[in-house]
């Protein structure tokens, strides 16, 4: 370390740079502390590197309209042709073959609403529509590079790498310079949303790789993580589904109350975890094992089962391959991601059990 520093110092000719480097080398040596003044030192902040200030104060920039258009043009030119097929073919050539133990990346999507579908036997099913946004790989941290924000209590045997994905490109002038710097090496337009995905080192992708809805296949199962609707401070009936108490028959002032919260005798106290009123929602929750029934390749929409995907309509969710052991895919999936973008697909891909509206009407016998 000292050798490198001195080398730099001898090479550089700007005065204050030398001063700074010297100061750095001095501080690196550390000072001796005889007594332990703080019994429990505060935990070290290990925020991921992409936790930076994102939005800047938007001033009224004094740019002429011509120049505003020029800046827009530059943004377009700089980030327009991002379908680098040589890159994709290179990944495809070097990719390892899929194994059930491998963990692939997930995607960032937007929950856009709820629709019914019908099975071929006539049963109705509610599906949630998740639109996969313009996902691009921003950065890959190898297992050694990635420092967990919470130190692992136990030793991890097969450490995963971390893939940083961004979605929904936006005007870089609305973001801070610091935040835009995250996207510098990927050649991708700065994105509104970032998400990390832990992947097997074999499933790593180089920065700039696009990911679309065909990363997933019809019939496979996914887990969806989203931020639940913020319902504020709620009572036990809404929060925990308590029955409440009767509306009449002499009941006064306790129609929606929780009732007794503790027993007697040896249990004469309120047990930890007792269901009581409190804040509800606005926390990340994962809904696991949702089947993909239909994929729209034109608009990159996944139709997954259930109407209870966490979050509001138009909120951002992340989709992963399921971790439920019995619903993991047995057949090969696109690995490390779907790369053959030139291939032409039908607009809609359906699960075998789903009734397609172009087919004849479902007929069944009245019982």
């Amino acid at each position: 370390m000292a050798f490198i520093l001195s080398n730099i110092v001898s090479k550089t000719c700007v005065k204050s740079l030398e001063d700074k480097l010297l100061a750095l080398s001095i501080s690196a040596s550390g000072t001796q502390i005889r007594e332990r003044h703080i019994m429990n030192p505060p935990p070290r902040l290990r925020n991921p590197t992409w936790f930076t200030k994102k939005h800047r104060v938007v001033h009224n920039d004094e740019i002429t309209t011509d120049n505003q258009e020029f800046v827009k043009e530059v943004v377009q030119d700089k980030y327009s042709n991002k379908d680098e097929s040589p890159l994709l073919s290179e990944i495809a050539a070097n990719a390892a073959e899929w194994q059930p133990t491998f963990k692939r990346t997930g995607v960032i999507a937007r929950k856009i609403g709820i629709y019914p579908i019908w099975m071929k036997d006539g049963t109705k099913m509610t599906t949630t529509l998740l639109q996969v946004l313009d996902n691009h790989v921003i950065k890959y941290y190898t297992p050694e590079e990635y420092e967990n924000s919470q130190p692992n209590k136990t030793r991890v045997m097969k450490k995963k790498g971390c893939l940083l994905l961004g979605a929904e490109g936006t005007d870089p002038s609305l973001l801070t310079k610091e935040y835009c710097g995250l996207f510098k090496n990927s050649g991708v337009i700065p994105k509104k949303f970032l998400a990390r995905f832990f992947v097997s080192p074999d499933a790593a992708l180089p920065p700039g790789t696009p990911i679309n809805a065909l990363h997933f296949q019809v019939g496979n199962f996914v887990d969806v993580r989203g931020k639940t609707i913020d319902r504020g401070f709620q009572g036990v009936m809404k929060r925990h589904g308590f029955k409440g108490m009767p509306a009449s028959h002499g009941v006064t002032k306790t129609h929606r109350r929780g009732g007794n919260i503790g027993g007697g005798g040896e249990k004469a106290r309120v047990w930890p975890g007792t269901k009581m009123p409190g804040h509800m929602g606005n926390r990340y929750r994962v809904l696991k094992g949702l089947k993909i029934w239909r994929i729209n390749t034109k608009y990159n929409v996944l139709y997954v089962s259930g109407q209870n995907v966490p979050g509001d309509t138009n909120s951002i969710v992340t989709i992963y391959d399921t971790i439920l052991p019995l619903r993991k895919p047995s057949n090969p999936v696109p690995f490390p991601t779907y790369l053959n973008t030139d291939e032409i697909h039908e607009e809609d891909l359906y699960d075998d059990d789903v009734h397609q509206f172009c087919d004849p009407t479902i007929e069944y016998n009245e019982t």
Binding site: T12, C13, V14, S16, K20, D61, N67, K177, C180
Partner: protein
């Protein structure tokens, strides 16, 4: 060599000034950059004091200051009061934000230069409808400050000789200072450029008022006797300017320029030293480097993306004329090259 100069100027300077001059010139043999700067500053102060004392009886002039729609008339001191003094009477915002003054609607006047006669005065800030002249003054000041920063930023073992800077041309995308460095093939790293930018920003934040002084060629020669390039340029500059040389000072740094410049260094906002490029010239001695930068006034805010485009552009070699050993390149005549380009 030094005695010759002082003898030829003996008529002009009082005995006191001369003795101080000799004292200062002896200091030169310490060979230190710091002492050279101190010597220049002392001389500058002495000359300023001498010019102030030479006025003698104080005459009054009437200055009609036009501010927005109204106009006010102030009675000021001839050759003592500056446009800045008038602005101080008027209001603090105008005082701080004015870049240059406009006299009688035609002549641009440095804010800290004494007014010679009764006149009409206007204050130009960075948001006037026709900002061409203000832009030039701003760009010129940036060049001057870049030279000032570069002359202090290097280690003592590097010999830094300021050469000149061309006439400001905002359209070229960068302000420029050509500087001779005793370094062969120096290509600055991005961190070195960042340090230079930081130095410039720090220097500008110290809010040095930029002073102005008209001096004779002889005095200028004494002031810049350590700098061979300036010494060569001074007779030519003086010949084109009635035997006078205009000096500017910001903090401890003195330089020659035609002017006008802006009032204070704190009017510089976003500032970047973008590139240092070695020039292909026939000037004797060490190679000459072109220092380039880009800056915006502090009153103009711009998002980082648009400013990043300006920074990128300012990295290309500026098209201003490259100084040679045969022709004397100064700020005054370099625009001829610009016109022909």
């Amino acid at each position: 060599m030094n005695s010759k100069i002082t003898l030829s100027t003996s008529k002009m300077y009082s005995l006191f000034v001369r003795s101080r001059l000799n004292k200062c010139t002896n200091k030169r043999f310490l060979g230190n950059l710091q002492s050279e700067s101190t010597r220049q500053n002392e001389l500058f102060d002495l000359e300023k004091k001498r010019q102030r004392e030479e006025i003698g009886r104080i005459d009054k002039i009437e200055v009609e200051v036009q501010c927005k729609s109204e106009s006010k008339t102030y009675v000021m001191n001839k050759l003592i009061s500056t446009p800045y003094d008038c602005a101080r009477h008027l209001n603090e915002t105008i005082m701080n934000k004015t870049a240059v003054a406009l006299i009688n609607g035609e002549t641009l006047w440095h804010m800290h230069k004494p007014l010679p006669d009764s006149c009409k005065l206007e204050f130009l800030d960075y948001k006037v409808s026709q900002p061409g002249q203000v832009n030039k003054a701003f760009w010129r000041t940036c060049s001057f400050l870049l030279g000032a920063v570069a002359s202090n930023a290097f280690k003592d073992k590097v010999d830094v000789q300021l050469h000149s800077f061309p006439i400001p041309n905002v359209k070229s995308g960068s302000f420029v200072y050509d500087i001779q460095l005793s370094l062969d093939n120096w290509v600055p790293t991005s961190s070195e450029l960042r340090v230079l930018s930081m130095e410039m920003i720090k220097f500008c934040q110290q809010a040095h008022p930029i002073e102005c002084l008209d001096v004779t060629a002889d005095f200028a020669l004494v002031l810049f006797k350590e700098n061979p390039h300036k010494t060569m340029q001074i007779p030519d500059i003086a010949a084109n300017n009635n035997g006078k040389v205009t000096l500017f000072r910001a903090g401890p740094n003195v330089d020659i320029s035609k002017g006008p410049m802006i009032a204070n260094t704190n009017q510089l906002g976003r500032t970047t030293v973008t590139n240092v490029i070695k020039l292909d010239t026939d000037i004797k001695g060490s190679p000459v480097y072109r220092f380039q930068g880009v800056a915006l006034p502090s009153s103009i805010v711009l998002n980082h993306f648009a400013y990043g485009l300006l920074e990128e552009r300012a990295k290309n070699l500026n098209s201003a004329r490259i100084p040679g050993s045969q022709d004397v390149t100064t700020e005054d005549n370099s625009f001829m090259a610009q016109a022909t380009n």
